[in-house]
Amino acid sequence: MLDFLKPPVLTIQEFFQLTGRVILNLPRRPHYFKDIVLQMDIIGVGSLPIVLLTGFFSGVVMALQMSRALQTYGAVSQTGPIVAITLVREMGPVLTAIAAAGRNAAGIASELGSMKVTEQIDAMRALGTDPIQKLVKPRLIATCVMLPCLTAIADFVGMLGGFMIATLLLHLTSAEYWNGAYRALAYDDVVQGLLKPFVYAIVISLVGCFYGLRTRGGTQGVGLATTQAVVVSIVWIFVLNAFITKIFVSI
């Protein structure tokens, strides 16, 4: 009767099996440091352009939108705090994570998927390397380190974008903007702003690896795995974002 529930439940079960195996393997040697560094380069440095662009322009847009609303209350000087808070709490983490999902979850899933369908994953196991250790762990660690950094960078360039609008169009002084922004940020905003990308990094890398490693069938299977990885990780980012925000709003 509930047969239609079977596939999604099985998928979730398999996903948590993979997660469990990764957690068990985290402290276990060997740690492929070279692969971790390589992935940090691909995931972190490689994502910089897109993160800089999305961060900057969301800061610009936010300052523009907010200034209109604030004008009606004669509170244009509050642009700095508002841009800072929305960026650090919500926009920075979520936008960076979505950019990373589009880029890295897709990249991971297609790379591992191609390896799967050409038997390279099997060959790896036959030749003495556990794909969990050699492929999944470096991607997880690299994403967990890089995504919070990327988010911090996005927050900063976003504030720069807001600053440009504030000084050029709204005629605020530089001190007004930056002091306001700096004072608005509380300790738990920063914690929230860095915890979120850390959680999304786990989602992006594990979902990418999961769909990559279970790829079936040829090139089409790789395409499907890639699409699924992006869609599923983005959905989970939004769902988890709501949860984490709720927790921080409550405390």
Binding site: T118, E119, Q120, D122, A123, M124, R125, A126, L127, G128
Partner: protein, 270 residues
């Protein structure tokens, strides 16, 4: 018992409830060879992958070097896999690594294989010289022909000098000359290192080469077994797979005398 390098006991492997191999039993002792014949999709590849624990049996036991691998966790299998080499059907070279890195991979990663760093390059060069590809060190797999990739795969499977070597369809899709060269390499590996060898193939000739020829180390050529004082090939058996079941196990003569319509299709009659 205990002698067997590899033993299958009533092994069934199924995908989504659909058995790919069913109730397969055989065993192979050290230094012996097996030639597995069978139509497409008869389960030959599944047998080789199950032998190394890459696939898990749904029923039955697989003993690799005397250890029941069906009860071992993945991370405990690596000790055993280090003692075996495998050529995959489509070679399965790592396409983002160079030929040199591909062949060095098992030397650097196999557990128990302890090769000092400065010896990796010479060992790789030697393995590639063995398959006559020493000039391709810095190339990527995509820059090689199918037959060359197969030979790199053979070098990679043998570079650690494993006791057991599995070859999945080493000659499939190759011209007769290249195919015979590859079979000569396999015989050479077998006879120089006394490696236990299992080969999956659709060509009966490959089995005949395995059964009738030996590598002569002094002359550096293959010669018919039994001539020139070289011993006949011992412990070689043919296995025939049909739709997931093992339908024949025996010597070349027994294979040729078989009256079974399916089995005799694999035999060349002169």
């Amino acid at each position: 018992m205990g002698e067997s390098v590899l033993r299958f006991e009533h092994v069934t492997v199924a995908f989504d409830g659909d058995p790919a191999i069913e109730d397969v039993s055989f065993s192979i002792d050290a230094g012996e060879s097996r030639v597995i014949l069978g139509a497409a999709a008869s389960g030959k590849t599944v047998i080789l992958k199950t032998a190394l624990g890459l696939l898990r049996p749904d029923e039955g036991r697989v003993l690799l070097f005397g250890k029941d691998i069906t009860v071992l966790a993945e991370q405990d299998l690596y000790d055993l896999r280090a003692r075996a080499g495998m050529l995959f059907q489509e070679s399965a070279l790592f396409d983002s690594l160079t030929i040199e890195e591909n062949v060095a991979y098992p030397l650097e990663n196999q557990k128990l294989v302890d090769v000092p760093n400065e010896q990796v390059r010479p060992r790789v060069a030697e393995a590639l010289r063995f398959v006559e590809l020493e000039h391709t060190l810095d190339k990527l797999p995509s820059e090689l022909s199918g037959g060359m990739r197969r030979r790199v795969g053979i070098a990679r499977a043998n570079v650690t000098a494993p006791q057991l070597v599995l070859y999945d369809s080493p000659t499939a899709g190759l011209d007769p000359i290249t195919a015979n060269n590859i079979m000569a390499l396999i015989v050479k590996e077998r006879d120089l290192r006394h490696a236990t060898t299992i080969i999956v193939t659709q060509r009966f000739q490959d089995g005949q080469i395995m059964a009738k020829y030996r590598y002569n180390a002094s002359g550096k050529t293959l010669e018919r077994a039994g001539s020139n004082g070289s011993g006949a090939v011992q412990g070689l058996k043919f296995l025939v797979m049909k739709e997931g079941r093992l339908v024949f196990e025996g010597s070349e003569e027994e294979l040729q005398q078989s009256r079974d319509a399916y089995i005799s299709k694999f035999v060349l009659r002169h």
